[in-house]
């Protein structure tokens, strides 16, 4: 068992790289009146069955999906937009990168002209706003999922550490604040010698996402140094690192994948989309993972939009498809299949959504948990280089973790690195 997993991950990565390299040539072809729409995604969005369903409804439309790695995806998209060729007809954009693209609306088809102007009420208001250009004149994308946060934890590890196991009691452990979460973690690590969470960067990011203001203010100025919420999040994360709570796993690496199954860490911050990663990475851990609430109140982490680069030739067909794909019925199907949580509030009243439980997570009522999380989210403004800024701070925390810098050195290097932004 132990040997097959890394190999499979390696094969998947190799395949992803080959695909990323090989399939960048052309977008959208026409054969005997049929139109092939290309869809560029990072990771599997669970759209597979929906393509088939759509092709049944519209026999003239076919799909070609290109999946690349998370970081490469946005870099490639930016390059393709700048050079005017190579982008897919439909591209996914994660929320950390969306403002970078709303700043250049002329590179995308304006969805307000294609029919989206009548649909505004369909999405959470902030989800809609995120894809609007600064002047409000153009909308570049339609929202797919949102990442209201929860906290996933390993029941077996909690039990072994003498902590409560049931999700309500676990939530109560840190219901007050992140300080309580860190205190529980300090206790856990001291008692068991194990790691409490997988990466300090992720914990830091969760705290920042919950704050009223994040790394940017509304005028797109970086406020990393002046925002007290950032300073507090940094200090608390450093405290957690120094207590040895972090497993120091970078997201999307083979070691990270393996950690879910092996149970090397006890908790991980869980936006809805994370649940599907846990399920795929730890197929043998059915019933061991469960879901509690996240400390520090509600916040959004991740979630995506689908955009139509202006270089795509089939704007109307592509728009018709994403309008269908992001409609509540289809978002519900995606949620049922993958766990990516819908961004359309209409569903939050729907028992088909709220009543959903996941056997893998010990029958956790995921519908209820993530509905509550999504409804409570206070939207935070996302600046143009949001994703890169958080990654740079995450690296600073990484330098403390591997012992190459003191917290003070790491912080001052973060600030000097950010000056070049």
């Amino acid at each position: 068992m132990k040997t097959t997993r890394p190999i499979r991950a390696a094969a998947a990565l190799a395949a992803a790289l080959v695909t990323a390299g090989g399939l960048t040539a052309c977008s959208g072809g026409e054969d005997d009146g049929k139109i092939t729409l290309s869809v560029g995604l990072f990771g599997d969005f669970g759209f597979g069955p929906l393509y088939e369903e759509y092709t049944k409804l519209h026999p003239d439309i076919e799909f070609e999906e290109r999946i690349s790695e998370f970081a490469d995806h946005h870099t490639n998209l930016t390059t393709h937009l700048a050079t005017g060729s190579g982008a897919a007809d439909i591209e996914a954009v994660e929320v950390g990168y969306i403002s970078q693209y709303t700043a250049q609306p002329d590179r995308f088809h304006n969805l307000l002209d294609l029919g989206a102007d009548e649909l505004e009420g369909q999405w959470l208001d902030w989800k809609w706003q995120q894809a609007l250009s600064a002047d409000g004149e153009s909308l570049i994308g339609l929202g797919t999922d949102v990442g209201g946060m929860a906290m996933c934890y390993r029941r077996d590890l909690f039990e072994a550490a003498g902590l409560p196991v049931e999700r309500d009691q676990v939530s109560a452990l840190w219901a007050q604040s992140w300080e309580d979460y860190v205190a529980v973690g300090e206790q856990y690590t001291a008692d068991t010698g194990g790691y409490f969470f997988e990466s300090s960067g992720n914990m830091f990011r969760a705290m920042v996402e919950q704050a009223e203001e994040g790394v940017y203010d509304r005028e797109d100025n970086l406020i990393v140094e002046s925002n007290p919420a950032i300073g507090e999040a940094w200090d608390l994360t450093v405290r957690a690192i120094e207590a040895g709570m972090s497993n120091r796993l970078a997201a999307w690496t083979p070691e990270w994948n393996a950690g879910f199954n092996e149970g090397t860490f006890a908790t991980i911050i869980c936006p809805a989309w994370m649940t599907s990663y846990i399920e795929t990475n730890a197929p043998d851990a059915t019933g061991l993972w469960d879901i509690a609430t996240v400390p520090g109140g509600a916040g959004n982490m991740g979630g995506s939009h689908l955009v139509l680069p202006a270089q795509g030739e089939h704007a109307e067909e592509a728009y018709a498809f994403i309008e269908w794909l992001t409609a509540p019925e289809q978002q519900l199907k995606v949620f049922e299949a993958t766990g990516n949580f819908p961004s359309t509030p209409e569903l939050y009243e729907d028992p088909a959504l709220t009543g959903l439980t996941k056997p893998y997570f010990n029958d956790a009522p995921v519908g209820e948990i993530f509905t509550a999380a999504a409804q409570a989210v206070q939207p935070q403004y996302q600046g143009p280089l949001q994703g890169d800024v958080l990654a740079t701070i995450g690296q600073g925390l990484g330098r403390i973790e591997d012992g190459s810098q003191t917290p003070e050195e790491a912080w001052s290097q973060v600030l000097s690195d950010l000056e070049s932004f």
């Binding site: 390696a10 050079t83 999307w252 070691e255 092996e262 690296q395 190459s404």
Partner: protein, 317 residues
Amino acid sequence: MTIAAKGTGTRGGPTGLLRYRLDLKASPYLYIAPFFVLFAVFGLFPLAFTAWVSTHEWSLLSDEHAFIGLGNYETLLSDPYFWNALGNTMSILVLATVPQLFAALLLAHLLTMRLRAQTFWRMGMLLPNVASVVAVAVIFSQLFGRDFGLINWVLESLGAGRIDWQAGSATSHVAIAVMVAWKWTGYNALIYLAAMQAVPREVYEAAHLDGASRMQQLFHVTVPMIRPTIVFTVIVSTIYGLQIFAEPQLFGGGGQNGVTGGASRQFQTLTLYLYEHGFNRGFEFGYASAVAWTMFAVIVLVALLNYLFIRRIRSAS
């Protein structure tokens, strides 16, 4: 009149002669032209254009390209991250190339001996080289994994304890050097083998009669005889080694660590540094072009030093 008319009108007249002469003079150039045209379009022009871009503040994301002269080079030379990347590259180069060429020499020496299934062994040498760099880097990154890597598992069962290969400078350089050596040792061994087969048998017979051992024969007969080949492999390995990209990039994993070569930039090579500036958030093509030209200078310099070094060994022995 008639003579003149005859002279201009018929075959073999001045026009025909001219055409013949033109054919004689121009045709050879036409035949070799495709290469030079392609070279100019895909070789020279990009080189020159890169030099031009490197004197501008040139971002892919903006249409304005301001001329700033040597500004990019000044920023580059005063950036400690550049010198860090240069140091890392040199360190990986030495760690990868020196043991690799020695191993290749020994392997080639073994292959000259009479072996069963000779072709099998020789072909086997080339196998690691056939695998793509990406595949090699992905597999080795797994082997060098901190928690579930095979190498750490072996180390631990030997009682040596685990190593976080990625976190340290030295350990990450060793890991990357192993990937490079794995891919290129066999290739160099085959090149040495080819050169060794051109060494006349009589020289070895004479050495053998004089009582030279196998090892003495290798270092006192073979090495001096195949020096031009050694010079060639040293220079080619240097050029390759200074441009390593896929190995550190994949070793760093997805995300920021793959771009900066670890959180402390402990294994960021020059090409990764170029990538960080040219194909990352700012898409600063001007600055990246300056990095490219600086790399070119570094490579020429190092290759030259290596050449002189190898030549000295020759004249010494």
